[in-house]
Amino acid sequence: MYQSRLTRRSITKALFATPMILSSRIALAADPVKVGLIFTTSGPFASSGDLMAKAAALFMKHKAPALLSGQKIEIIQRDDGGPNPEVAKRLVQELIVRDRVQFIGGIQWTPNAFAIGPLLTQSKTPCVLMNAGTSSIVRSSPFFARTSHTIWQSCYPLGQWAARNKIGKAYTLVTDFAGGHDAETGFTKGFTEAGGSVVAAVRMPIQNPNFAPLLQRVRDTKPDALFVFHPGGTQTAAFIKTYAEIGLANDGIRLIGPGDLTSDEELPSVGPIAKGIITAHHYSVAGDRPANKEFLALWHQEYGASLRPNYMSVGVWDGMRVIATTIAANKGNGDPDAAMETIKKYRDDNSPRGPISIDPQTRDIVQNEYIREVRIVNGEPYNVELETIPAVKDPWKSFNPA
């Protein structure tokens, strides 16, 4: 279809003028709409990408057909191998130019998201962010929308909660990249506004094999609580084990952070020592909602009882739903502006994480935040939801109006 249009004239024209690819992207309803998904399925962070890819496949199999009523979607999945913006940029460029996708989705990493922003604007390709959580990303292109979360969304309310719950002095320890910086500033603002004080703010390298000296320092500083953000995955278990081993819990230093700290899939391998960690986040497998029960039933039926999904899986699950709904609403006509309008009106009261919607002004997600505590349920650790903070918009954007 596309190939036949590449006449000699169009090639010559393409070589000497900036071509309009918009026209080449308009497809008939019978043609599959191509959706490019970028996950991290190789390298040291492959484990979380795998959970994201599984969620996309699960949605396509069980939920998409009913939503799409005959319209076909072709998924083209690509691997960026981790926080590799140059790779992500090339993949997106190829997806747009070579594969002519109508939507981009996925994107686990903030730097990768920033790298592709200009491409999306230039080519007018809507992109649904299904994990990357730095607040300012959606401002870098009008074609970004987000179904995951922002880091401020969980860290700022957590700061307020901490100050209200007998934590006066906090020590912050975050991974040194944009996400970590957001976590540090978001928590600090919420915490200090509510009367708490931060005694030390340390940024650690993204790949750190040795948490022991960092945590020893925390113990010697004797704060009331340690606020931690790291990008989850393999670091989760190592971190919590070291926390227990250095004896911070014995000294009464509480461990708090956004949900990345106690990511659901890693909790079983951490074991009972994770008990008592307080986190704020938008999704837990322990969430007591019918939509979540259904989601988990499908997941375990497909991938076995021992593998848990996590918040990233849910970000993808809802993100795929946004894309499928948009395609159905516009009958796959490929008009990016119409697609963005549809996305801005999206709302779903029955997500596994509770009611969610897209804020039409910011194109960012509005969702409940839950304060959770790790508790042992039926012999396994879970993030049990204690409090609900309803319909949280990204706080960063209200403090930093565009």
Binding site: L6, I11, A14, L15, T18, P19, T41, S42, Q77, R78, D79, G81, P83, N84, P85, E86, V87, K89, R90, Q93, E94, I96, V97, R98, T110, P111, F114, A115, G117, P118, L119, Q122, S123, D176, F177, A178, P205, I206
Partner: protein, 325 residues
């Protein structure tokens, strides 16, 4: 056998053969037959230039390094910083400045590490690449750290040709850069200087005994190689308008070493074949199953190291020789 025969032999060995132009012919027609693949082709060209720089070290001077990405990274970051922090977006001068800086860094570094050999040299280059990566990570106020340096704006070339999303300008720009580097490399390795470098590779102690100042000459080659590596890095920055930590990583050092080995070291055109095969295969296989690709890549690299020394170029040469008989 006579002196004239020797002259003829030298002529045959060093003169330009028609087949040496084939890579450029193939690349020149690419925009007309495979427009969708231009971003990939541009990436391949950038890696060819980088691999050429490594070939000068490994293939011609016999210096094995695990840290060549340090200099690719210096070039890449210099080009990015000039644009983002300095506001200077002119491409050609950006390339030259970046190449000069990484060349100078290479001379400094080379005059330190080339006094050692084998394992120690490998370990020095290995710790250098981890050090460089961590410096780029920590100096985030100028490099962007883990998030990388974005917002690089390269002005249209000669004020006319803007870098477009389809990568046509980028492709032609990179191709022209490759042509320049190739002419320079070819001229260098076939000159008496290049021959003396190969003599040092063959036999260091004999080279000193025929009056070659071994260390200074290796330092010069090291500097040249690093300048070319930096040139490649700067080119990548300008074309994709982004620099990340991978530009100065052990991973990239290992990748380029693999590309060179698959193509074949010490023959210039091995540095063309290696990246083409590696990146094209990666593009084709890794997309669907990165794990299987990693397995195959590992098997190929091990097989090349164990059985097929000299890589594809040696294989081609043997095939050509046996079919000529």
């Amino acid at each position: 056998m006579s002196a004239a025969a020797f002259n003829t032999f030298l002529d045959n060995k060093h003169r330009l053969s028609w087949w040496e132009l084939t890579p450029f012919l193939v690349l020149a027609i690419l925009p007309f037959v495979a427009r969708d693949y231009l971003p990939l082709a541009t990436q391949i060209i950038i890696y060819i230039i980088f691999t050429l720089s490594l070939d000068l070290l490994v293939g011609y001077a016999g210096i094995v390094t695990l840290g060549h990405a340090v200099f690719f990274g210096i070039g890449a970051y210099t080009a990015g910083i000039i644009s983002v922090r300095g506001g200077w977006g002119e491409g050609l001068s950006g390339l030259l400045i970046s190449a000069t800086i990484s060349g100078a860094a290479g001379v400094l570094f080379g005059s330190v590490v080339l006094r050692t050999a084998r394992f120690t040299l490998l370990m020095l280059t290995l710790s250098a690449v981890f050090l460089a990566n961590e410096i780029a990570n920590k100096a985030s106020w100028i490099t962007g750290g883990v998030d990388g340096l974005s917002g690089i704006d390269i002005w249209p070339l000669f004020g006319i040709f803007a870098f477009d999303m389809f990568g046509i300008t980028g492709f032609i720009y990179a191709l022209a850069a490759l042509l320049v580097v190739w002419i320079f490399m070819r001229w260098l390795v076939h000159s008496p200087f290049g021959q003396s470098i190969a003599a040092i590779r063959d036999n260091r102690s004999r080279a000193a005994a025929i009056g070659i100042a071994v260390l200074p000459r290796l330092v010069v080659v090291y500097g040249i190689s690093c300048a070319i590596a930096g040139f490649a890095g700067a080119l990548q920055t300008q074309v994709i308008q982004f620099v990340g930590l991978k530009a100065a990583s052990f991973e990239l050092s290992a990748d380029v070493l693999i590309m060179l080995a698959i193509g074949g070291a010490g023959r210039i055109y091995g540095a063309f074949l290696g990246p083409v095969i590696y990146l094209a295969a990666q593009d084709y296989f890794a997309k669907d199953d990165p794990v299987l690709w990693q397995l195959w890549l590992g098997l190929i690299v091990m097989a090349v190291a164990t059985f097929a020394r000299g890589g594809l170029m040696a294989l081609l040469r043997r095939t050509a020789a046996s079919s000529a008989k």
